[in-house]
């Protein structure tokens, strides 16, 4: 590891952590409806919205009604995204005349975007119209992020309130988190990205005349567009000579901003944030990484503020930051070491002032090893899933990091809202285990943790490993699952495992070699994304409702302290034990055996 890469990590974390208090405080004020100036300015708009909706903003909901409203609202989003894709050929803003998306792919994408996953089985620049992108996908980038925020806020209110029936008004919470938090921040980030070269237009794709003439072969097609085959059934190739390069266009910057800010991750273009039109410079890359971290990290302060003890929030943030630092350095060292098989060919993989060295397959020159490893850790520790390098081509241990980050349940800062509520569930489990060990009644933030909370916490935590392992087992067992694999051996197993881990945790990144735009993967991963999102949400909401109704237990000398180093260690231990032990056998079959083969020489 080089000094330059360590400085990058330190600068990144420092800038990110400096934003935590101001943004966290702002979000607490917004969600508590305090009369700060943005809310005063927006008050007439809010009133108009509530009147049109026919709701009384002062009327709060119990957890069941809140959850039901959330599910109905999210279902509408899925229907809209599905409809836009299925009808895009006949709708405006489709200058490339892209066909309507197939039903299985449209279903997968609809579920993918409402669940904040943004797994992409399709290639953006050759599939989606501008309308589908901005009015379908980008809208869900906002609304799925807002959904995450309101669930986290509801859980916080569960801790903060006592003897209360209600946990908030879903419509008001959605409106405020979208209008006052997501929209202004996204607009600011979009303008910053524009200045760096991210596109924002509605033009048709542009042809440019290249400097050199390019000769290549492509499969020959007949007049009807079907591939021509020879007598043996092999595709006939034809020679093409061209000096034309077609460049994609579109309203990318507006979508790119919320893609990162909402920890969504769905790229406008196939190569996602590796594409120079999505992420053109080192500075745009820094802004994108920061945008991913911003809300998940800041919500820990919002939490501390709203429960009336900011130390509680800092403790959660400390646990996240420690896990993050370990993971990013594992990825960094592994990628910087490079690939011994490539080194044997007389290739220079050493890092120097003139080159990044290391494993550069699937990485961009402007990001090199450091910014690629850092981005990979940020995007999988949170539930973002945007990529600026191809995780499939990472070294075994470099690829282990994104996989393991997701297996922890996306709590290394985590997704917008999801990261905080998932971490608080781990905290509940942690104090329960600690309470058992020392013989005290488990309490967290003045609330007794009883059997209902423990049942719901188990439900929220265990659904993910269950659907991951079950899904991956089916994937490797059936022919339709095996057919998608691109790389042989242990790495192929990792591709299937990664797909199910990513979908279950609503991350959306991939070991991208896998061919997932098939009926099997579109359906299986669609179901897994849906379960992985809403099952924990319902359990978390039930906990929120139950906690809100409880009385506050007075703090005594027997109360366990839930801030400070001891609690941070307990929290990290719980995450590692509960979240990760489940996956050790699977990891041994994938990246670990691959690492041993790469360095042990059994590859021949």
């Amino acid at each position: 590891m080089t000094a330059a890469s360590q400085i990058l990590i330190i600068v990144f974390l420092a800038v990110g952590l400096l934003c935590v208090k101001p943004l966290g405080l702002y979000m607490a004020n917004v969600m508590e409806g305090r009369p700060i100036w943005p809310l005063r300015v927006g008050a007439p708009i809010e009133r108009w919205i509530y009147r049109l909706c026919g709701i009384n903003p002062a009327l709060e909901m119990g957890w069941k009604q809140y959850t039901l409203a959330l599910l109905v609202f999210n279902t509408l989003g899925a229907l809209m995204v599905y409809a836009l894709q299925r009808l895009q050929l006949w709708l405006p803003l489709n200058p490339q005349h892209f066909a309507n998306v197939a039903p299985d792919s449209a279903f997968n994408t609809a579920v993918s975007f409402i669940t904040n996953t943004n797994w992409q089985g399709y290639s953006g620049e050759s599939t989606m119209s501008y309308l589908s992108q901005m009015a379908g996908l980008a809208v869900q980038n906002f609304l799925s992020a807002a959904t995450g925020i309101v669930v986290a806020i509801a859980l916080i209110r569960g801790f903060a309130r006592h003897g209360a029936e209600a946990i908030g008004n879903f419509w008001v919470d959605m409106t405020r988190s979208t209008l006052y938090v997501l929209l202004p921040l996204a607009a600011l980030i979009a303008v910053l990205l524009l200045s760096q070269g991210v596109l924002q237009n509605f033009s048709a794709y542009k042809d440019v005349t290249t400097l050199e003439t390019l000769e290549y072969q492509q499969p020959k097609v007949d007049a009807a567009g079907n591939p021509v085959k020879d007598a043996q059934g092999n595709p006939v190739m034809e020679n093409v000579t061209t000096r034309t390069q077609t460049l994609p266009m579109g309203p990318i910057a507006s979508q790119e901003a919320i893609k990162e800010l909402g920890t969504n991750g769905g790229g406008f273009l196939n190569a996602n944030s590796a594409h120079p039109y999505e992420n053109p410079t080192a500075l745009s890359n820094f802004i994108e990484m920061l945008a991913i971290l911003l809300i998940p990290a800041s919500l820990t302060y919002t939490f501390g503020r709203m429960v009336g003890d900011t130390r509680q929030g800092w403790a959660v943030l400390a646990a996240m930051t420690i896990l993050f630092l370990v993971m990013v350095n594992v990825a960094l060292v592994s990628e910087q070491t490079g690939n011994p098989l490539v080194g044997k060919l007389g290739v220079d993989q050493t890092v120097s002032a003139l080159q990044p060295g290391g494993n550069m397959e699937g990485k961009e020159a402007r990001f090199g090893i450091a910014a690629s490893s850092l981005f990979a850790t940020v995007t999988t520790g949170t539930s973002c899933g945007a990529v600026n390098s191809m995780h499939d081509s990472f070294t075994p241990l470099g690829g282990f990091v994104p996989l393991f980050n997701m297996m922890l349940g996306e709590v290394v800062f985590g997704g917008v809202g999801t990261g905080l509520y998932s971490m608080l569930i781990f905290a509940i489990v942690g104090v329960f285990i600690a309470g058992l060990m020392i013989g005290r009644t488990p309490e967290y933030l003045g609330k007794k943790i009883e059997s209902f909370e423990m049942k719901m916490s188990s439900v929220a935590i265990l659904v993910m490993p269950f659907i991951v392992l079950f899904g991956a087992a089916v994937g490797v067992s059936v022919a339709a699952g095996q057919a998608g694999v691109a790389n042989p051996g242990a790495h192929g197993f990792s591709e299937i495992l990664y797909a199910f881990v990513s979908a279950s945790n609503n991350n959306g990144s991939a070991f991208g070699g896998i061919s997932a735009n098939t009926v099997f993967y579109n359906t299986a991963l669609g179901l897994v994304m849906w379960l992985g999102r809403y099952w924990p949400i319902v359990a978390v909401m039930a906990i929120a409702g139950s906690l809100a109704a409880k009385k506050r237990v007075p703090v005594t000398s027997g109360t366990m302290v839930t801030y400070g180093p001891t609690f941070v260690v307990l929290l990290i231990g719980t995450v590692l034990l509960v979240g990760a032990l489940t996956f050790v056998p699977a990891l041994a079959l994938g990246p670990i055996v691959e690492h041993l083969m790469l360095w042990g020489g059994s590859h021949g």
């Binding site: 049109l52 909706c53 026919g54 039901l68 609202f73 509408l76 809209m80 290639s123 620049e125 609304l143 419509w171 979009a190 524009l194 200045s195 070269g197 596109l199 237009n201 033009s203 440019v208 400097l211 050199e212 390019l214 290549y216 072969q217 390069q245 077609t246 266009m249 309203p251 507006s254 590796a274 120079p276 039109y277 080192a282 490539v342 060919l345 007389g346 290739v347 220079d348 003139l354 080159q355 494993n359 550069m360 397959e361 699937g362 990485k363 961009e364 020159a365 402007r366 990001f367 910014a371 990529v387 191809m390 081509s393 990472f394 070294t395 075994p396 691109a486 790495h491 991208g512 070699g513």
Partner: protein
Amino acid sequence: MTSLFRPAIVLFVILSGVSGIVYPLVVTGIGQALFPRQANGSLILKDDKPIGSTLIGQSFTDPKYFWSRPSATTPQPYNGTGSSGSNLGPLNPALIDAIKPRIDALRAADPGNRAPIPVDLITASGSGLDPEESVAAADYQAGRVARARGLPAARVRALIAAHTEGRLLGVLGEPRVNVLELNLALDALK
């Protein structure tokens, strides 16, 4: 439950309109007003015709040009409408099979050069459209380009140095060279 339908539908329509129509249009307005070149693709014009983008790489095979990094897009390299990496794993024999011919081509074009080849010059980028390469990758090719053009090597190296972009504020990004801009500068030399 039916009492939820009206607020759900109306709020969905309003928030969709704001975030899906108004927001991208406002950003488009700002972009076209403040950053028109960037918002429209950072195109390079020659006689008012676009000959490329500073952000999108092109394929080069002529010894008198600097070669770009390998591209895994299909069917042709640097396919602007099909961005993609190779997604080859580190142990996949296809990775080595893809790298070997690239090494052979570089060696064949410059038989006297025995220096180890910089890794980014023989590995495919993540997007398949990488407009840049490391300074080491450009330096490696300087001798070949100078010979093919009958230029002094020092002149070509000076051109690389003039086109080198360092780390921003000494922290962000990697030192690198934009290949298309460098080649255009070569063609402009008299």
